[in-house]
């Protein structure tokens, strides 16, 4: 059979859909709706933290140590008598901020590196070997080492979590670029004398947007988890700033008698990360299946 029905135009490559970053069909996906709803709730809570019947997140009340959940302390108190509800609500700020800033920075830097590697053949081998090297180092260990050497702090943690994510994004972008650059329409543009920057912006970049949005959600989910793990291991956010990770870290010693200190922030992490992951999966389903597979292989 001829090309007539071999390549049916998929809904994603239709310009209208791509212009809106494939959102309209994807928004109808139940998983995406659920995920966005959860994220919205968590986000609003983080913004409105002082007004949500919270107290002082770092106020030590030695007399109220390790109290179980009650009408006074909804989620109980920790080993220093601090209110777990207050700390969890304020902790949402840190977790979301880290999730989004890591996703944004890893995607932007990875996009740049991927474009360079995919289009400048001379740099490709060198850049990709460096990416392979970073990927070979277990991400938590790399982050731990960086935090240990530079001291704890939100900025350090963001950098430490973002760096191991960059190679994954770069590889994804590179693979999209490599498959797009052999498309006849890109060759036609080269033949029409289009210069490299324009060629990338007009013909290559738009193809990377949809997979990058999906990959970005996965990076965001993974960053929230990694922050929790780093803080839990004592190589994360300093204890003065409550984050879901360090609330749980401080609950470790008393876990057998006061499991709520770990349980509630744990549930928050799980629900938020689940929401972000489900959004990612929904967007992925709404994408062209081939692109989707490429994203999946790298997660």
């Amino acid at each position: 059979m001829s090309a007539e029905n071999r390549t049916m135009p998929s809904p994603v490559t239709s310009p209208l859909a791509s212009r809106l970053a494939t959102l309209p069909p994807a928004l109808r996906h139940p998983g995406v709706l659920f995920g966005l709803a959860v994220l919205l709730i968590v986000g609003l809570a983080a913004l409105a933290a002082p007004f949500l019947w919270t107290g002082d997140p770092i106020l030590l009340r030695p007399r109220l140590r390790l109290k179980p959940p009650s009408s006074v302390a909804w989620l109980g108190t920790d080993a220093f008598g601090r209110d777990v509800w207050t700390r969890v609500v304020y902790g949402a700020r840190v977790s979301l901020a880290i999730g989004f800033s890591v996703a944004a920075s890893a995607v932007l830097i990875g996009l740049f590196i991927g474009l360079v590697a995919g289009y400048l053949r001379r740099l490709d081998a060198v850049v990709m070997r460096i990416m392979d090297g970073i990927m070979a180092i277990p991400s938590i260990l790399l982050a731990i080492a960086m935090v240990t050497l530079s001291g704890a702090g939100i900025g350090t943690v963001i950098v430490a979590i973002a760096i191991p994510e960059i190679p994954r994004v770069a590889r994804l972008v590179r693979s999209v670029v490599l498959s797009v650059r052999s498309e006849p329409y890109v060759e036609a543009a080269i033949g029409a004398g289009t210069r490299l920057p324009m060629l990338l912006i007009r013909h290559v970049l738009p193809n990377t947007i949809a997979p990058l949005i999906v990959q970005g959600t996965y990076v965001c989910a993974s960053a929230i988890l990694t922050e929790a793990i780093l803080s839990f291991l004592g190589a994360g956010i300093p204890t003065e700033i409550p984050s879901w990770g360090n609330i749980m870290a401080e609950g470790r010693q008393s876990f057998q008698i006061a499991p709520w200190v770990i349980l509630f922030p744990g549930l928050c992490v799980a629900a938020t990360v689940l929401a972000v992951n489900v959004i990612g999966d929904g967007l992925r389903d709404a994408l062209d299946p081939r692109t989707a597979r490429r994203v999946g292989a790298l997660r």
Binding site: P9, S14, P15, P184, A188, A189, G191, G193
Partner: protein, 537 residues
């Protein structure tokens, strides 16, 4: 004549909601007798492949026949239990698919895959019996050295060899009906001729009925006893092959047959001899690979010292089979590929080895029309944006470029309104017209058409060829026309170059070459090309 092997009556297969029409097949009736080859002919979307899948019971789940019956030796395929259907598949009916490259399991040996057919259907038990039967079958389809071939993996075989393996597999249990779905479409023409001959020979020897799906009336005229013509899911004409081919009754059939390019070149165009060629290629060589990390690596020579010249206003055809280097040649001339050595002169300047930076002024002078109309336009950009991109790169104002684009759309017979629409709103043929307009917008010295009509249905192909004929006269275009199809080349080209293994083996004016091919390969190519054996068309 006894009871037919296959008899389809009133078959209707609805399409899922939202398709371009209600039914993939509508009220189709046809029959295949023992020892008969029935060709089902149609363009893409005619429902011919759905017919084949329906008979095998291999329709995708979204397609369910809603009416009619399919009788295989009197047994209704649509009503039998799944287990019975499985028992019939492979034993009483068997299928040969279009793509020999993907139809065989890449991780199993060829012999195992044929033996599996024997294992699956009782009657041939015993490892030894199966082994010798596999070897017999491989011999029957004229594959060399069956014992070692049985131990080969599919990727070690050529396309033609794989298709022979598929045929051997289909024959394994002596089926009464063989369904061949475009079995030669993916093959080179010389291989196609051999496979057609093989099918005909085996069918005669084994008394099987063959349902042969094809889009090519040339193939029909070589193999069919009877012909069924389908259009948009309906049967439009049916009859004995010679009758349908010589006296088609239905207008659609007539149009299809008329659209098949005849292998007779039209009379040569009158042209004055120009002083200097517009494009001159000398000793062009392209080698791939050979520079691995360890200096080793197999070097492949895709082009081996090719020389040719294109006169202003001339259409030069470059004909060859896959792997002949014809596309590499085109891509070197357009400098999408860097040649390893040689010269490419365009109006006196040698661009063969220019670095990319210095190449830019010359890009404008060579423009290409690509094979796949679905991938040659950026789906995210309006047609107008695609056409004016090039001229604006070379300094034309947006208004002037748009005016030029509108003129060109008119030239390629498209509405001006097309400028503001997206590629997906156009059919394959229309997209190819847009691609031609885009190339012409650069006012190139040389237009390269790389298999530009190969992916199109014959009726569309004919329209695009007519368009090219028309505009090259009007604009005095110089065209490098790359094709695997001698018939298309005969129609359009003033001169032909025949390529084999990266070299030019023969060249000359089209008519002279057709009248008297000298090189053995050219002769083989001509002999293999499917020709319509008609009195006059």
């Amino acid at each position: 004549m006894s009871q037919p092997v296959l008899s389809i009556t009133g078959l209707t297969v609805p399409l899922p909601y939202g398709a371009d029409r209600a039914n993939a097949i509508e009220g189709l009736s046809l029959s295949v007798g023992a020892n008969e080859i029935v060709c089902v002919v149609g363009e893409s979307g005619s429902g011919k492949s759905v017919t084949a899948s329906a008979v095998m019971g291999l329709l995708p789940p979204a397609l369910k026949p809603s009416a009619g019956e399919i009788l295989l030796q009197g047994e209704d395929i649509l009503k039998v239990a799944p287990a019975r259907l499985r028992a019939l598949r492979g034993s009483r009916m068997a299928m040969v698919f279009q793509e020999p490259m993907t139809a065989l399991n890449p991780v199993l040996k060829v012999g195992e895959q044929i033996a599996e057919m024997l294992e699956a259907h009782a009657g041939r038990s015993g490892r030894e019996a199966r082994r010798s039967r596999v070897l017999d079958l491989l011999g029957d389809v004229h594959l060399p050295d069956p014992p070692s071939l049985a131990k080969a993996y599919p990727h070690q075989l050529s396309g033609g060899q794989r298709q022979r393996v598929m045929i051997a597999m289909a024959l394994a249990n002596d089926p009464a009906l063989i369904i061949a779905d475009e079995p030669t479409t993916a093959l080179d023409v010389t291989t196609q001729a051999q496979i057609l001959k093989l099918l005909k020979e085996l069918q005669a020897r084994r008394n099987a009925g063959i349902l042969f799906i094809t889009h090519d009336f040339g193939v029909v005229s070589q193999i069919a006893d009877r012909v069924v013509v389908m259009q948009r899911g309906r049967l439009v004409e049916e009859g004995r092959a010679d009758e349908v081919l010589t006296r088609p009754r239905d207008p659609y059939t007539r149009m299809l047959i008329a659209a098949v390019p005849s292998a007779e070149p039209p009379p040569a165009r009158p042209r004055q001899q120009a002083a200097a060629p517009i494009l001159a290629v000398r000793d062009l060589t392209k080698t791939y690979g050979g520079r691995g990390l360890f200096g080793g690596g197999r070097a492949v020579t895709a082009l081996d010292g090719v020389s040719l010249a294109l006169q202003p206003g001339e259409t030069l055809g470059i004909v060859g089979e896959s792997g002949s280097g014809k596309s590499t040649l085109a891509r070197c001339v357009a400098r999408f590929v860097d040649p390893s050595a040689g010269h490419i002169r365009i109006g006196g300047d040698d661009i063969a080895l220019l670095p990319p930076r210095e190449l830019r002024p010359y890009r404008r002078r060579v423009q290409m029309v690509f094979q796949d109309p679905y991938r040659s336009l950026n789906p995210r950009r309006k047609v107008g944006q695609s056409i004016i991109e090039g001229p604006m790169n070379y300094g034309l104002s947006k208004e002037a470029a748009l005016a030029r684009a509108a003129r060109l759309l008119d030239l390629v017979n498209l509405e001006k309104g097309a400028l503001d629409r997206y590629p997906h709103e156009f059919s394959g043929g229309q997209r190819q017209r847009i691609a031609i307009a885009r190339a012409l917008a650069m006012e190139p010295d040389v237009l390269i058409a790389d298999e530009a009509v190969s992916a199109l249905d014959v009726s569309v192909q004919r329209q695009v060829l007519e368009l090219l004929e028309d505009i090259r006269e009007r604009l005095n275009l110089s065209i490098l026309f790359i094709t695997h199809d001698l018939r298309v080349a005969a129609r359009l080209c003033d001169r032909l170059v025949v390529m084999l293994g990266g070299r030019i083996v023969e060249e000359g004016p089209t008519a002279a070459l057709f009248a008297n091919p000298r090189h053995a390969y050219t002769q083989a190519l001509f002999a293999a090309a499917p020709k319509l054996r008609l009195a006059a068309s």
